[in-house]
């Protein structure tokens, strides 16, 4: 250490070596009297390079010219000046580089007259941190400003503390005219709205909430906003999104749905009306069409019984034709009623045991035709889902047909079974009876369509039509394969369409 300049001072100022700031003591002439270790480290000088030098050595060159004037002014009006304040001060290292500093000044009187102690603090790190914070704030600010969602911060007394561009745009106002004003000032009548009630609850209870609001502008137009309200120390932070378009679509969909429901309702009523009419029509048919037939049959029989003498053999034959026709028509009426019952009855779903139904049907057929011998094979455990009554009609009709059309064979054989096709069970009734010509297969399931003459096989022509209708109502299909004299196979599925759809 060079001790020629101010040895006494160095000793007495020894305690200044331990403070964290750089301490420089300057005389009225502007020359440096003392500099502590921190000064040497901070500025990069040796002590001998500083002592006795002008203070301006430590001042950046661009400020050097003006500095002696400021220094003299201070010595003219010495006072304690703490660090901080608005001054942006810079210092210069030995290598010429600058760095930001804060400087505290305090005057003191000594034997050599007035001295000024300057405590210098390097604030490079702090300035850098502040710059980072400023940059980050600016980034967030610009993000908020440019967000698609409207952002507003309201004070506890309902003043706009902040709002972004979207908020001003949504409010159809100018941002600058809103800031500092209360919401009530900017939107007269705001206190009467549901939006206000909701916001006030959040404001008072310090709770957050999500809500949708209808907002009416002064010109009467209406918009919908989705609000996310969050209490913050200043008041409320509100994020809002214009959902008017979405609302409008919602309303249109609702309106369309209502209209659709109305139409379905109307159509359902029409159908119910049609069903009621069909119901009463069928009821009349069941009662009224049979009574005349009964008369025709009964009185023909009365003629045969009571007037046997007057009516010759030819006449009796005609009377028996009349009776046969009446009975045939009664069968047709019954068939038609069964068919219409299939169409109008409600479907009840249950697990149906087809094998059991088939056994019952065959037992009945055998009882009604005790003279026949038919080899019947019924596969066990065949079940399906559907209406038990209607599916019984299907099984009875198919087996009844097989029974009928094998009537002329000595070695009659009927098989009821199931195969699997495309993962679906296909039920079938196969016989070795009269069969049919595949050229007419399309006529098989039509009402009153028959492929055999009445003299060959009796029938009404509604059985398979009924089967077809039941199967169709169960979402299935029915089809037939056969050849003349080679038997027939009638197959059906259930619930195919539902599964495809």
């Amino acid at each position: 250490m060079n001790d020629t300049a101010a040895p006494a001072a160095v000793v007495s100022w020894g305690l200044l070596e331990d403070v964290p700031d750089a301490i420089v003591i300057v005389g009225k002439d502007g020359r440096i009297r003392f500099a502590n270790r921190q000064t040497l480290a901070m500025f990069g000088y040796g002590l001998e390079e500083l002592i006795g030098q002008m203070l301006e050595l430590l001042v950046p060159e661009r400020f050097r010219t003006a500095h002696p004037g400021k220094r003299s002014a201070y010595f003219g009006n010495p006072h304690r000046r703490p660090m901080g304040g608005d001054l942006d001060l810079f210092a210069r290292r030995r290598d010429g580089t600058e760095f930001p500093v804060e400087i505290a000044l305090s005057p003191m009187s000594g034997a050599e007259g007035m001295l000024v102690t300057a405590a210098i603090r390097d604030v490079t790190e702090r300035k850098r941190a502040e710059a980072v914070i400023r940059a980050s704030e600016a980034r967030y600010h610009s993000m908020l400003d440019n967000m698609l969602e409207a952002v507003q911060i309201l004070s506890l007394d309902w003043r706009y503390l902040y709002l972004n561009d979207a908020a001003a745009r949504n409010g159809r106002q100018v941002k600058e005219e809103m800031l500092g004003k209360t919401v009530m000032e900017r939107y007269p009548g705001f206190e009467t709205t549901a939006m206000f009630t909701s916001l006030r609850t959040c404001m008072v209870e310090r709770t957050s909430r999500l809500a949708e609001f209808e907002f009416t502008y002064p010109d009467g137009t209406v918009a919908w906003y989705e609000f996310s309200i969050q209490p913050v120390p200043e008041g409320l932070f509100i994020l809002s999104l214009d959902i008017t378009a979405r609302k409008r679509v919602d309303q249109e969909i609702r309106a369309l749905n209502t209209e659709l429901e109305r139409r379905v309702q109307a159509r359902t009523e029409q159908l119910q009306e049609a069903n009621r009419e069909l119901e009463s029509f069928s009821y009349s048919v069941a009662h009224d069409l049979r009574a005349p037939l009964r008369s025709i049959d009964g009185f023909s029989q009365a003629l045969i019984d009571d007037y046997a003498v007057q009516v010759d053999a030819e006449g009796k034959k005609y009377l028996s034709f009349i009776r046969e026709s009446a009975q045939q028509m009664a069968l047709l009426i019954d068939g038609l009623l069964a068919l219409s019952r299939v169409t109008r009855s409600e479907l009840h779903s249950a697990r149906v045991d087809f094998s059991a139904l088939a056994r019952t049907a065959i037992t009945r057929l055998q009882r009604n035709h005790p003279g026949r011998t038919v080899d019947v094979v019924i596969e066990e455990g065949l079940t399906g889902e559907g209406d038990p009554v209607l599916l019984a009609v299907v099984i009875e009709n198919l087996l009844g047909n097989a029974w009928k059309f094998t009537g002329k064979r000595e070695d009659a054989r009927i098989t009821f079974g199931a195969a699997t096709r495309d993962g679906h069970p296909v039920f079938f009734v196969r016989d070795n009876g009269a069969g049919f010509d595949m050229a007419f297969v399309h006529k098989l399931f039509g009402v009153f369509q028959r492929l055999h003459g009445a003299t060959e096989f009796e029938g009404t022509g509604v059985g398979l039509a009924t089967v077809e209708r039941v199967v169709r109502r169960h979402g299935g299909r029915v089809w037939a394969e056969g050849e003349v004299g080679g038997g027939a196979t009638l197959s059906f599925t259930l619930h195919e369409k539902e599964n495809i759809g």
């Binding site: 009224d288 009964r294 008369s295 009185f299 029989q301 009365a302």
Partner: protein, 149 residues
């Protein structure tokens, strides 16, 4: 067989004729009273109106009731009979054209004792009537009339 009355409620004269004929053919010789609509049937059974002078203690052995009737239909007649203490146990056989499930269920739920469909085939009709006569006129013991009308 006995001389107990059969009340036939039937509006169709041809059906009436056929039913009477079927009764005769199946050897049912009981006297048959015919009521041609529901109102007349009730008048007869309750001994009122045109039948006011009748001894109402003399109840028919069985009522053969058609369903489709003018004025008061068969189901209403049945309902009225079952609601009356005097006739609630009277055997009523519904004899009708239809086998509509609705008619069947309603008839039985209103207290019909039996339900017979009139077959178109007269031979079958005779058989049905014969069985009816056998059961309701010979085998069945009528409940004693206890109530007051």
């Amino acid at each position: 067989m006995n001389n107990k009355i059969i009340l036939l409620v039937e509006d169709n004269p041809k059906d009436e004729e056929l039913t009477l004929r079927a009764l005769k053919k199946s050897n049912v010789m009981n006297p048959v009273v015919v009521a041609r609509d529901g109102a007349e049937a009730l008048d007869y059974l309750f001994a009122q109106g045109a039948h006011a002078g009748r001894d109402r203690a003399a109840m028919p052995q069985v009522v053969l009731l058609d369903l489709k009737l003018p004025k008061i239909d068969g189901l209403e007649v049945l309902k009225a009979l079952r609601a009356n203490e005097f006739t609630k146990l009277l055997p009523v056989v519904v004899l009708t054209s239809s086998v509509e499930e609705k008619d069947l269920v309603l008839s039985y739920s209103l207290g019909a004792n039996s339900y017979v469909r009139k077959p178109v085939d007269f031979v079958q009709f005779i058989e049905a009537v014969r069985q009816l006569g056998l059961y309701w006129l010979i085998l069945n013991e009528t409940a004693p009339v206890t109530g007051k009308p």
